[in-house]
Amino acid sequence: MEERFRTIYRNLRLRWQRFTRDPEVLEFNAAETAQKGQGFTYNQAEFIHHSNLSHKESAFFSAFPKQKLYAAGVLLVVVLGILLNWHGTILIIFAVLTTLYFLDSLFNAFLIYRSFAKSSEIKISTLELSRYKDDFWPRYTVFCPLYKEWQVVPQFVEAMSALDYPKEKLQIMLLLEEDDKETINKIAAQNLPANFEVIVVPDSKPKTKPKAMNYGLNFARGQYLVIYDAEIIPDRDQLKKAVLTFRKFPHLGCPQTRLDHYNTEQNFITRLFNTEFCFYYDLFLPGLQKMGAPVPLSGHSTHFRTSALQKIGAWDPYNVTEDCDIAIRLHRIGFQTGVIDSVSREEATGTFESWIKQRSRWMKGFMQTSIVNIRNPIELYNDIGGFKNFIVFGFIVPGMVAVNLLNMFYWLLLVAWYVTLSPIIKTFFPTPILYMSVVSFVAGNFIFIYLNIIGAYRRQRYGLVKYTVLSPLYWLMLSAATVRAAVQIVTSPHNWEKTEHGSHLQAAPTPQTIKVVSANFSANLKATPAKERQF
């Protein structure tokens, strides 16, 4: 009898260990690396990502079995609670959610207050720039990852030629994919300026924008480096400002430029989209910077010290939000991230459908980043720079997803209460919870609409101000997109599963990026799904 139990116990333990064990990955040896570039083998498939980043630090695996178990455990407790005392359980859940929501609002308000209290943006005057002669400026590398976007190249060439930077010091690298023959041919046919270099990235898994950049990094000669997507139009003096910023602030690893749109006045959505940017880049990010917290970087118009990039093993090609991830890793080795007073302009998505699709992708990326980062909370806590930054990370990444979901939930609840006047809804909101909800609802909405207004005004978008009053509609869209992203995670597990194994990692735009499909807006909207499938 005892023997039988022991066998069962041993079996169970073995299974448990097998289940919870971290998956096995076989790194390339020196010879393989020399031949193919850095990579590893997993499940008899080769992954070549061209960076020294260990797979353990990457998002090659997103949710580990352990994480799934914890999630299941939490769910089990909730289900048990509901079975035992459904009213009490729901009450507690509401209380927790409302408190978190309230705290998030307070945090955001605090951040904006910090941003207002004193200008934290790094400002470099034109006068200062004019003091330096051409031979002062160091070599600068521009990355332009291109995939089936050859139509925009002329615009990009024009924007690059307009840059106020010594031409011979500027190395502009077009990063093309080996399988994108059309772009390769079209580019070859074009008469590119002398400082343009075309790099064809060998076809390998994973096929992502960060992998292309990792590959390109091998050929980069600049002391500093910037990523410009093909449809970007940066301020002419942006590179010079970045150089002076790097020189003045030795601890700054990566200055982020403020982003703007060149098609703001197109319609209602682009107007509100632009307002969101005015707020995000002019108020929110500077607030984060002032706190010394990691700034979630955008996918483009981010400037780097090439040496720092090499030191941290460049980008994580398995993370769909490699830009957010790299900010955290820069912080880990003691660099800060910041915002400089320079603008890059791009195109805003202009139809409801494309907006929702883009935003769900970003939100999905946020969810993935959250899952990856809380894989080992203690490690994250140590890496990210102490308690403050840990909390900030919680508020700005998983917190943003949660708030968007909660917005929808509370709106529905409010409508349900208004329509049914059901006394049962009231019982879920005891006085302190009710007060917190009301303050969040009234003051929170008001303050954030108002901040959006101020953001628009400060960019002198006077005409935008009246549209900004309609921000709650935009937030409703934001909620809808987040709900869609959450539903996608649950309903298309196949899709998610593949992401987990790194075989189909999409070069989807990352959450902080405004990924514009192309300069020719309407024509390229249709091209978007095809591109997604390819990656």
Binding site: F446, I453, I454, G463
Partner: protein, 589 residues
């Protein structure tokens, strides 16, 4: 801490104002007049009910008065000593007084470019005895004066320097004023119009003007918007504050029905009332020199093309507001010089003071040595306020239409309850327990009134099941709901009857069979001193009454008049006004 040098004057003025504030609050506290005004008690009670009620919470803030003054009392109101002394409400008034004084200095300095003008304005404001009394009370005027003054300061500064920060700050302070008194709504609307006109005039950029109007208006009018929402959510009608049963309009219509609104739809009476109110409160010399200062300001603004100075005149709309208000019967002001020769809401004119003192100070700074003469005239007038016990806001609070004296029967009943209350709920009209509850010191969780919702309605149907006491005052909701016979049928016996108040107790035998006439009418002046048990007696002041004659009448000894003086918190016999009700205490304590 290093103090920036440029703020040196402000800091010194802050300290002076703070000292003046503390000294005068201490003085008026010693006089026992901080909570003299009926409204002072009512304001304290609203805040108190948020923390002490059968159903506590913010819904107790009600709809009659705007909420911010009560919210500011919340940190202190739960402390009994601060509540019963009235200091819980005075604290915010005092701080507002200090801040208002500093902002008045800043506006005058901004307009004239001379610090001296600022200091003169500061002194004229801080030394006004009416302001000094009002800042020691829980009444709302000082907070309003502060928020309005700060809002105007930043608006003028915005017009001068064109910085968005100042426009937003102006809107924030106007928001506070909008959450404090309805006057603010009128001024804010005018300010919004001024912003639009000024911006268009200066820049002719419609989109920018529109953006600025939204930035300014969204904040400034968040107050009214919140108030509509509050009235809708709590009372089911966004305009409940304007049409509800205890709204100002409803109260004024009661007076109108009684033929007691002489200024109603009578422009001359409205103007004259406001003039006398201003004279009594702000001092005639300040008004005269202030109006002259306005002309001077207008002239210099146009001469030097300093158009931002014109925005200062928005301040004057405060006066226009009250003229309109009493003309349309939304508010009422009684001044002692005009029929019906009472004190009522005279304190409203304190809100004109910043306007007059700033304009006066700007001119006085220019007048140089002549200013000294003007200054002496002003201080003589201020001195007269004090010397004759003529601080009109104080008189209003002690013997005016809605004063402690006019609430005397309820306060007396409260004092009686303080001795005789033996537990259980007290059913009453919400108006009565303002004084009664305050002076009884029985917590609000033992009072059942209209603010308690369903329980109150149930208790009205079947009082014996819910309450042990019923507090009835002639003409109030209780007296309309119950007849004495009904209450007796429910097992309630009258245990207290004085003037117009009767208190019933469950299970008690009917101890007091018949009511006495509520007020000793002027026709029933008696020459034989009444028996000791009848005191205190209430006396209706008629022409020819003097304190001596009253003491002679009631005590048979004219030299006992100081007792009447004390009992009514009067400062001299000049306080004796027609048709007021005096309390005649017993001849011996």
């Amino acid at each position: 801490m290093q103090i920036p040098k440029r703020h040196g004057t402000e800091i010194i003025l802050t300290i002076i104002a703070l000292l003046a504030s503390l000294a005068s609050t201490f003085y008026f506290m010693r006089q026992g007049v901080i909570v003299a005004a009926g409204d002072a008690v009512a304001h304290l009670n609203i805040a108190r009910r948020v923390v002490d009620s059968i159903n506590p919470g913010f819904s107790q803030l009600g709809y009659v008065w705007l909420p911010i003054n009560h919210l500011l009392m919340l940190p202190f109101i739960w402390i009994n000593s601060l509540y019963y002394s009235g200091l819980a409400g005075s604290i915010s008034s005092m701080l507002a007084f200090v801040a208002a004084a500093v902002y008045i200095y800043k506006i005058a300095t901004l307009l004239s470019g001379k610090k001296l003008a600022g200091i003169v304005a500061f002194v004229l404001f801080v030394a006004n005895p009416n302001i000094l009394y009002m800042q020691s009370t829980p009444l709302t005027e000082l907070f309003y004066i502060f928020s309005l003054t700060a809002g105007m300061y930043y608006l003028i500064l915005w017009a001068k320097q064109r910085r968005l920060k100042h426009l937003i700050l102006s809107a924030v302070f106007l928001l506070l004023s909008n959450l404090s008194r309805y006057d603010g709504w009128f001024i804010s609307a005018a300010c919004l119009a001024a912003v639009v006109v000024y911006e268009l005039w200066q820049n002719r950029n419609w989109k920018r003007t529109e953006a600025l109007a939204i930035i300014f208006g969204a904040v400034a009018f968040a107050g009214p918007a919140l108030w509509f929402a509050w009235n809708y959510v709590i009372f089911g009608n966004p305009l409940y504050f304007a049409v509800g049963p205890y709204s100002a309009k409803a109260q004024q219509m009661g007076l109108l029905a009684a033929g007691q609104l002489p200024a109603y739809h009578h422009l001359l009476n409205s103007l004259v009332t406001i003039f006398y109110d201003g004279k009594n409160t702000d001092a005639l010399s300040v008004i005269v020199i202030g109006l002259a200062g306005c002309c001077y300001l207008l002239w210099t603004a146009l001469r030097d093309k300093q158009y931002y100075k014109l925005l200062f005149f928005l301040f004057g709309l405060q006066i226009i507001y009250y003229i309109i208000n009493i003309y349309f019967g939304n508010g009422v002001i009684y001044v002692p010089q005009l029929w019906p020769f009472k004190f009522f809401n005279d304190r409203y004119a304190t809100t004109f003071i910043p306007f007059f003192v700033i304009a006066a100070a700007v001119l006085m700074e220019r007048l140089k040595w002549l200013a000294a003469v003007v200054g002496i005239a002003i201080f003589l007038e201020y001195g007269a306020f004090v010397r004759h016990g003529n601080i009109i806001t104080l008189q209003e609070a002690t013997v005016g239409y809605a004063s402690k004296a006019s609430n005397a029967s309820r306060a007396a009943a409260g004092m009686w309850l303080r001795q005789n209350y033996s537990g259980g709920l007290i059913l009453s009209d919400v108006f009565n327990d303002d004084s009664a509850a305050f002076y009884s010191r029985i917590p609000f969780r033992d009072w059942l009134n209209g603010g308690n919702g369903q329980l109150f309605s149930d208790a009205l149907k079947n009082p014996a099941e819910y309450v042990n006491w019923v507090f009835v005052r002639n003409g109030d909701l209780m007296s309309q709901t119950f007849t004495p016979a009904e209450l007796a049928g429910d097992g309630f016996g009258a245990v207290y009857r004085q003037d117009d108040v009767t208190i019933y107790k469950k299970g008690a035998p009917n101890q007091i069979p018949a009511a006495r006439p509520p007020v000793a009418a002027p026709t029933t002046v008696v020459n034989i001193p009444p028996p000791a048990a009848a005191y205190p007696i209430r006396h209706f002041v008629v022409p020819g009454d003097t304190l001596w004659s009253l003491a002679q009448t009631y005590y048979g000894n004219g030299s006992l008049w100081p007792r009447i003086l004390q009992a009514n918190h009067m400062h001299s016999q000049f306080n004796l006004y027609l048709e007021n009700i005096l309390i005649i205490p017993a001849p011996q304590p």
